[in-house]
Subunit: 320 residues, 2 copies
Amino acid sequence: MKLKSFYSFLTKDLEVIENELLSSVQTKDPLIREAGIHLLQAGGKRIRPVFVLLSGMFGDYNIDRMKPVAVALELIHSASLVHDDVIDNAELRRGKPTVNAKWDNRIAMYVGDYLFARALEIITELDEPLIHRVLSKALVELCLGEIEQINDKYNFDQSYRTYVKRIKRKTALLIAVSCQLGALASGAPESVCKKLYLYGYYVGISYQIIDDLLDFTSTEEELGKPVGSDLLQGNITLPVLFAMQNEELRKKIVKINNQTTAEEIKPIIYEIKKSRAIEQSMNISDRYLQKSFHQLEGLKHGKARTSLYNIAKYIGKRKF
Amino acid sequence: MKLKSFYSFLTKDLEVIENELLSSVQTKDPLIREAGIHLLQAGGKRIRPVFVLLSGMFGDYNIDRMKPVAVALELIHSASLVHDDVIDNAELRRGKPTVNAKWDNRIAMYVGDYLFARALEIITELDEPLIHRVLSKALVELCLGEIEQINDKYNFDQSYRTYVKRIKRKTALLIAVSCQLGALASGAPESVCKKLYLYGYYVGISYQIIDDLLDFTSTEEELGKPVGSDLLQGNITLPVLFAMQNEELRKKIVKINNQTTAEEIKPIIYEIKKSRAIEQSMNISDRYLQKSFHQLEGLKHGKARTSLYNIAKYIGKRKF
């Protein structure tokens, strides 16, 4: 079953969001326009807008109010990808050249800045200061997460806790906030916003664990970038942390540094794939998924809740 | 007379802002904290906070409401400097090593992101959506200005209009918004906010012209960076545009590119300094100053207005 089939009733509204996203980068500046469109058209699942819309269905759903929230969240997500790619010197994203590769790092930096700023501008179309507050706070946390990721590069002495804290800031928070703000903007009660926030948070953690896992188990074709890119770039993810519990494997892993080549890392990737680390990571992901289901139980029955449930389940089993 | 003497009555409130600025970078992350403090302590005139406070005196002045506005504006200014220095590969800023030089470009990018995000978070302490709207819109324009500056590098075919548009986005807008939001946050009438916005806009243009001029006429010691850095980096400023009206000089200037060395550019800097370009630029700056005075005339008499007048006059005559 395809992910989209779980929310086919949103097709029309997601098109509205898509158009709005594209028009958000329609500036007179040709560089921003081209780079922005290139970035947005490189795809992505638009999962944050989906979470916004579904969460909005727990209140007084109105697409005009959902629009700025969904667009802002997706723009922030895109901006963070652009800045990520600068840091990682990444050449490809979803199989297409990155902004830094197609233009250069300086352009990518400002395109990211522009998208961040546009996101915050767009959200101010809504009059609730609380919404602005939540979004800007999430942005601060996101930046802290990015810096932590740099600090923790090639640092093999990090704990499971450090990892979770990092992916919370890097991924989970923005998904949590997508759900929270969708609900808030549609006037859902505070208790509902809270449950949706937590649902998003748990799903986000689970999603990132799977993402980190797929970096080992997927194919270059599916990933749109080489297998094991994370480890090569020094990003220590959950499968690596588990793999290091094996003393032999640990010795090999800690030797990885920014001089290590893609060729040299291949046998290590292979060993991690064969180890129990993949299954162990999957179990942790599952535990977070269960927590997300638990939050949904407190919410009213209906197609929004069913969709959120199905999406979470899908995320737990996704192959790419 | 020193600039500070024009607003000595603000000393205590400026200290409040200064402490708040430093505490805005107090995070658990040691890198952000260190880089943030390094950046803020490198000085700067805090002229944006001064404009916020003085403009606030045209309404119901309250330091608690001025604080988030002043801090947000100064943080955005600092963030844009950090990102500027990444683009320019600048080593020094106000005589001290830049964040990119002391750490690296990646850290500088995220420190800038963090400061942008913090600024927008801090402004949401105030409940008025209009304030959030104005600030985020200014940030969008600022980013567009930065990208224009990259696009226009070593482009010797630009007009006076292009130049003014660029410095509007790069400098004048943030000063205009400092005045506007100071007034808005203190509940000043709309007509007053508008006049202060325009005052700030004209002062900002004048300020940047002088800045661009000082890059030629000042000393390395006063600038805290080599004389003629702008031109060497391909930033075509007003004195250069005027100097190019001389056909002989034009021929030499248009040969400058990103391979030109500091040594090679020295004789050209010398010729620009000796040409009428400096005086012509000064005249344009003066014209904008007059416009700023004109806006002040419509505002109520008092020490705030006197200060704004004196600051503008000082800016027109400043030597560094």
